[in-house]
Amino acid sequence: MSDDTNFSSSRRKFLGGAAVATGALATGKLVHAQAMPDPLITEMQPWQQYLGDGVDARPYGMPSQYEAHVVRRNVPWLTADSVSSVNFTPLHELDGIITPNGLCFERHHAGIAEIDPGMHRLMINGLVDNPLVFTMEDLMRFPRENRTYFLECAANTGMEWRGAQLNGCQFTHGMIHNVVYTGVPLRLLLEEAGVRTNAAWILPEGADASAMTRSIPLEKALDDCLVATHMNGERLRPEQGYPIRLVVPGWEGNMWVKWLRRIEVGDQPWHHREETSKYTDLLEHGEARRFTWVMDAKSVITNPSPQAPITHGPGPTVITGVAWSGRGTIPRVDVTLDGGANWHQARMSGPSLDKSMHRFYYEFNWDGSPLLLQSRAHDSTGYVQPTKEQLREIRGENSIYHNNGIQTWFVDENGQAENVEVG
C-alpha cells in the first residue's frame, strides 16, 4: 500500500509541476490546451482496482493521510515550557466556520487534566441558600441548549503589538476556535442552589493543577453562560476541559474555565492572579485596564496568507477569511487589495450567529501584480475593526492582550505572502 502511495503522490507532484496551463483571459473564458492525455485518466490507478479498508478498520475516523500537515502547532520560544503554554489552530487550512475538535487550539496552565467523569464533581457554594454538589449524571438531567460560539484567547495576535512578527495566520490569529456547544445554562444551576440577594459575582474554578479562577459578574453568569458537556456533537476533548467547561460567550478565553469543579457565589470580585498579574492591559502611561472581558470585532484573511500562498498564477482567485465579534454578529466585512486605499465588500457565506465566527469570500481576477491584502470587520453594533495604529495611539504597545487590529498580508508576483505592516 505504501509503495503505491509514494508512487501516486510523486507522480502527482511531477504532473502538477509539468502541467503548465496556457490560458487566455481575453474572452473571459479560460481555454486550456492539453498536449498529452493525462495518465491519471488513461492509466488504471490502484484505488480503482484493489479493495480498500472495510467499515471495521476505522472505528474513530481520522483525516486523509494527505492532510497530515493540518495540525495544531506551537511556538517554542513563546513560553518557558509546553505545559503552561499555547498552541495554534491551523486557520489557513480550514473553511466554513466550525473548527474540528482535534484542531481546536489549546491553552493550559498546568497541562491537560485527564479526568474520569465518574470521579468529577461540580460544587456550587458561597452566597447561596443551598450549597450543592452535582455529579456528571446530575448535569445531564437539566435542560440543555445548543449554541455556536467563538473562543478567542485574550492574547491572540498579542505578539504583533510591536509590529509584524510571526509569518502565518495560524500563529498571528490561531488562538481561536469556533464550535457548537451543548450545555446546561449556568442560570439553572445557580437557581437550583438559590442565589442570595447580595450576590454580585461568581468565581468559577478548575480541577486541574492550576486551579484556574476568574471573577465573573453575576449578570453575565445568569445571562448566557453555559456549563458545556459537548462540542460539535461529541463530549468535550480532554484538552478542552472534559468532562465539563464553562462557556462565556463573547468574552476572553481565559474565563472559559476548563475541568470546571466549583462555582463560588460572592458579593465582590476576587482579583485573582489571572485578573491582576495576567489579563490586565498595561497602557502607555503605566496604568492598566482591568476586567477587559469582551473580545472586540476582528477578522483575518486566511487564504492567501503566508502559509497558504497563491500557487495557481494569475486569473480567478478566491480570498477568504473569518470574522467575529464578542458583541454580536458580523453583517459585513470589507477587503482591500491595495493596503487600504480602496475597499470592496466581501461576500458573507454561511450562518451568521451571535458571538460566532463568520466566513467571508472575495473573488477577483488576479493580474499577477503584488497585493497588500487586509480585511475589516463590521459588527452588528456598528463597530468597525480598527487598524493596529489606531489601537496603538490609545493603548501603546505593551498591553499584550486584545489586539484586534487589521492584519496586512503582502502578496508578491509569485503569489508568496508575508506578514507586513503598512503606513
Binding site: N87, H271, H272, G286
Partner: protein, 197 residues
C-alpha cells in the same frame, strides 16, 4: 419546559466546602489563621521555588520574574512583578497556595504560604528582614501599584472612535510597507517534525 426546582444534586457538606473553598480576597476574606516570617520564607523559597524563580525572585531563564521592575511600567520594556505591578497581596497568597510550586500544587501548608509571601515582600523591598506576616496584619500591607488599575473603559474611549463610517475609496495616496515579519524570522518552520503531537 419547567424552570428551577429540579431537585438535582445534593447538599454540599461543610467538610467538602472547606476542602475546595480555598480562595482569598483582597479584604482578607478566606485567609486561614497562620503566620510566617521572612527568614523561614527564604529557606522555603530556596528549597521549593528558586529552581525556577531564582534565589531572590529574579527568575531563571524564561520563568516568571517575581521581584523588582519598579519604575518600568511606563517605559519601553515593562517588568511586571509582584512588587512593581500586582495590586493586592491577597493574590500572592491565594495563587502560591492554589497553584505553586509548579508541578506540586497545594503541597504547602498555610504557614509556609505566609512565610513565602513574607519573603516575596522582602525581595521586593516592601518589608524589613524581621517581618512576620499573619492573618492579623495581612490587611496592613498595601501594594505599591494598587491604584494603577482601572475598570475597562473601551465603551467610552474606543467604541465611539471605532463606530464611524469607514472610508471605502481613495483612502490613501501611497501605501508603504513599514515592517516585515520575514526580516525577524522567528516563525517556526512548518515541517512535520514541528507539529504538536
Amino acid at each position: 419546559s419547567r424552570e428551577g426546582g429540579y431537585g438535582l444534586g445534593r447538599t454540599a457538606l461543610p467538610e467538602e466546602i472547606a476542602a475546595w473553598d480555598i480562595d482569598v480576597r483582597p479584604d482578607g476574606v478566606g485567609l486561614p489563621v497562620g503566620s510566617g516570617d521572612v527568614w523561614t520564607g527564604e529557606e522555603l523559597f530556596v528549597d521549593y521555588c528558586s529552581v525556577c524563580h531564582g534565589d531572590f525572585g529574579e527568575a531563571v531563564g524564561r520563568w516568571p520574574v517575581l521581584a523588582g521592575g519598579f519604575g518600568t511600567l511606563d517605559g519601553e520594556d515593562p517588568v511586571k512583578t509582584i512588587g512593581s505591578y500586582w495590586p493586592y497581596l491577597s493574590t500572592v497568597w491565594d495563587y502560591v497556595h492554589r497553584a505553586m510550586p509548579y508541578g506540586a500544587a497545594q503541597s504547602l501548608t498555610d504557614d509556609e504560604v505566609y512565610a513565602i509571601t513574607a519573603y516575596l515582600l522582602y525581595v521586593n523591598n516592601l518589608v524589613e528582614d524581621d517581618f512576620e506576616l499573619s492573618n492579623e496584619n495581612f490587611s496592613e500591607v498595601v501594594m505599591p501599584n494598587e491604584q494603577a488599575f482601572f475598570m475597562d473603559d473601551r465603551d467610552a474611549v474606543e467604541l465611539p472612535l471605532f463606530s464611524q463610517d469607514p472610508c471605502m475609496t481613495d483612502c490613501a495616496e501611497t501605501v508603504e510597507i513599514t515592517m516585515r515579519a520575514a526580516v525577524l524570522d522567528v516563525t517556526p518552520d512548518t515541517e512535520e517534525d514541528n507539529a504538536v503531537e
